[in-house]
Symmetry: C2
Subunit: 490 residues, 2 copies
């Protein structure tokens, strides 16, 4: 198995691509840029979905479902949105196929041309705000706190599994509010819902901040984001939450009567995370042996592998192993017993390493005699012998320890690669080294653009907790009041 995996140091990008396929997470499909999410990868995505969905519901949101198709003209209604989204899209122009008159398969029926083309949604603000017009009349109808789990399509020229695919899965929240303050509070709340989830469940530390004007969502007044740091020193935007002001309400004529009887436009937010999170997960924790999964997301937290020669030893070992499996299950641990006789233990060890199962337990006849098992941790690759007695409790503790350790390791890496610089030379060098570069910036889009052209570095965010500090812009020397986080990014 893992023998064929390219080392990260050799070629990080190749390591990633190979790992995604070899660990059975996803694969390229016959359709350009569209991936197949394989069962093992999808099981992780299901855990991400379930945990996020519970957090959305705890904060008062409900799910709904809006159409896949959006009439082309809708994109023109919000001026900046059209520039951002109505470009590289899948366009439906016809609604019928027919048998080829020349007998060669099937062809598009040219008589079945749509009057107005339909766009496969790249994001749903337009169709949703077109719907909200009918749902909102009074302040009593507000706030409207709706989320949708859906597939979206953006016709990307260069695609990579999970990180950038033509079709991807995501959730998109779209909320409507009576006041600007309430909408901003919602956008900030969802930023923290994302941040808490990604840190506590995915064990990925993130910077929480706002985007600069250049990096803002097309149609937003403010974009909040969480930014993670990958092992190769490139940043990855892991989630965004937008304060949309009244832009979409004005574009789609969504008004409400307030408590004083005055008619106003509604205030909006939208927020989303996608299967891109799978990419962040892989690139934060995994190593040259394969995937490393935080226990909270692992479909199997523990695998038990029997070690034996012959039927007699198997019978002995299997009975004990299954009994331990039952004990661990009763303690709420997701545990698999791999009794396949088609593969040797060494092969299985490699496979579960490649697939990132947090804890591997091996049991042989001598272990049974001694009342112990061999427990291997995926995160540290270390092994220890643990008594069978009280195993469920000790494994529970171990799983928590692994979860904590993965986060601590990722924080340490992120911090060790984050640098504060004050000169252009140091800035360029720091970007080349990788990691976040905290530097002063004069706050203008022009300067940001120039920095991007020269270095490929972008402002990932202006961190919410970044302290006031007088300084001079790294490029222009103009005054700046706080440092912002630059990096090269996925």
């Amino acid at each position: 198995m893992a023998k064929n995996l390219t080392a990260r140091a050799t070629d990080y990008s190749r390591w990633y691509n190979e790992l995604v396929v070899q660990a059975d997470l996803a694969d390229n499909s016959a359709v350009r840029g569209c991936m197949v999410i394989k069962p093992y990868g999808y099981a992780i995505w299901e855990r991400i979905q379930a945990d996020l969905d519970a957090r959305f519901k705890e904060t008062g949101h409900v799910n709904a479902y809006f159409p896949l198709f959006i009439p082309k003209s809708y994109f023109s209604k919000e001026a900046s949105h059209v520039e951002g989204f109505a470009k590289e899209c899948a366009v439906v122009t016809h609604y019928r196929l027919k048998n080829d008159p020349n007998g060669k398969g099937i062809v598009v029926d040219e008589t079945a041309k749509l009057e107005e083309e339909l766009i496969v949604r790249p994001t749903s603000e337009t169709i949703i705000w077109d719907t909200y017009r009918d749902w909102i009349q009074s302040y009593r109808d507000l706030p409207l706190l709706i989320n949708q789990w859906a597939n979206v399509v953006r016709w990307e020229m260069r695609t990579r599994l999970f990180l950038r695919t033509t079709e991807f899965l995501w959730q998109e929240g779209h909320t409507a509010h009576a006041t600007s303050e309430e909408a901003v509070a919602e956008a900030v709340q969802m930023l923290h819902v994302y941040g808490d989830f990604v840190e506590n469940v995915m064990a990925i530390p993130v910077l929480r901040g706002v985007k600069s004007t250049n990096e803002r969502f097309a149609g937003a007044l403010e974009t909040y984001c969480i930014e993670a740091m990958m092992q190769d020193g490139k940043a990855l935007q892991a989630g965004t939450s937008h304060f949309l002001g009244q832009n979409f309400a004005k574009a789609f004529d969504v008004k409400f009567q307030n408590k004083e009887g005055k008619v106003e436009h509604v205030w909006a937010t939208s927020w989303g995370v996608s299967t891109r999170l799978m990419g962040a997960l892989i690139m934060t924790h995994s190593d040259d042996n394969g995937l490393v999964l935080p226990p909270k997301l692992a479909p199997d937290q523990v695998v038990i592998v029997p070690i034996y020669r012959g039927e007699e030893e198997l019978a002995l070992v299997e009975a004990v192993a299954k009994n331990l499996q039952a004990q661990l299950r009763a303690a709420g641990i997701r545990v698999k017993y791999d009794g396949r006789d088609t593969h040797k233990p060494g092969w299985k060890f490699n496979e579960y390493e490649l697939k990132g199962v947090p804890v591997r337990i091996a049991i042989g006849p001598r272990d049974v005699a001694n009342g112990v098992v061999e427990v291997a941790r995926r995160d540290t690759l270390s092994k220890e012998s643990l008594p069978m007695e009280g195993l469920a409790a000790s494994v529970s503790v171990l799983l928590e320890e692994i979860q904590t350790n993965l986060f601590a390791k990722a924080v340490a890496f992120r911090n060790s690669t984050t640098k504060s610089v004050d000169t252009w030379e140091a800035f360029e060098a720091a970007l080349d080294e990788g990691g976040f570069v905290m530097a002063h910036w004069d706050g203008t889009p022009e300067t940001e653009e120039k920095i991007k052209e020269r270095t490929k570095g972008t402002i990932r965010c202006i961190p919410l907790d970044s302290p006031d500090e007088v300084g001079a812009c790294i490029l222009t020397g103009n005054p700046s009041t706080r440092r912002v986080a630059f990096a090269r990014a996925y």
Copy 2:
């Protein structure tokens, strides 16, 4: 609220359309034939999904995700499949939009034309079997038991909310097996998973059977189905499970080496249910006052409405109501307290009747004094006074009773409208009356087609439990060995 609902006796079809919109289940969108599933409707669908998903996993299936788009040529590979599915489809021909050179919005960029058109999946056999070719080499890779939750698109000319929409949500299982027997067993197993779910959770009785050749899925050797009977006497196909033989394996060249080292084509099944189930749910239980929901699917099983005049009474009643709510919640009951002061109790009663909440509890100051509450059942519209003491237990029993009663009522209706007939005159009369018509048929597609042309009645299924019985075909008089279930259908 419900005052505006057309009575079923007046116009069943209009009643249905109004109910779906008024009960906040779904609405038509700006995109022809595509619906918006509103939060209340989606919450029911989520419960359907969660319950089915657990049943799929219990029977060894895992979820995955395959591309939305299918290359046009794939449809031509399986001869009968192309006839059934590659006709009324959404066709993607371009992948870019650009600003209109004349300054009028955006237009399709004609230079961005796809070499091969992509079809928005109407069903995924082709793309999935194209993928399985890479996943299956040996009998060790089998069985492959995969399900997908997804949206699909079929360009329907006449659409109705939930029953027939251009885009709908569904699950599609696609399994691969080493033998014909195993694949048939899987198809039958899933038929019963569907049947058990629909009967025990949705409280909808179904006939379980096989389709006649004419009604079979395009590409299947055998289609198993569950058929429900709606209140207007029309049948509704609620789920199907197909034994696909080796058709797709041959079309996409999917082979495996069996235990004896011989290379064979793989055996297949596929099975699916969709948001159409929501239509069946509505049309089985609901009445002229609105939706009626079985407790197992109701997002809110109980609603508590306070009755009061003035602040003082409210304070008294609210404290008791919230305490009861907590007790019911602790017993695992989904209960909502509606303390809105913007609406009168009568308005709320109407609303929860319209939305089908199984149990409504009203509490006023006198109830508090007497230690009782007023409990109203949605299914029978009857009321009774129940002691607060032990309310969680009595409501739990009541919810079970409602679930049982709804199923029993639906069974009684289905049975009372099912007729066995032996003459053509009686057959036509029975079809006109509605309900299933059990009649002899000579087993030929030609006869079935003629019957359909003359009566609009189709063979809904050949019930699995239909006993052997010698008879004469209702149309031709030719010999028949068992009765089949005819009906007019949605």
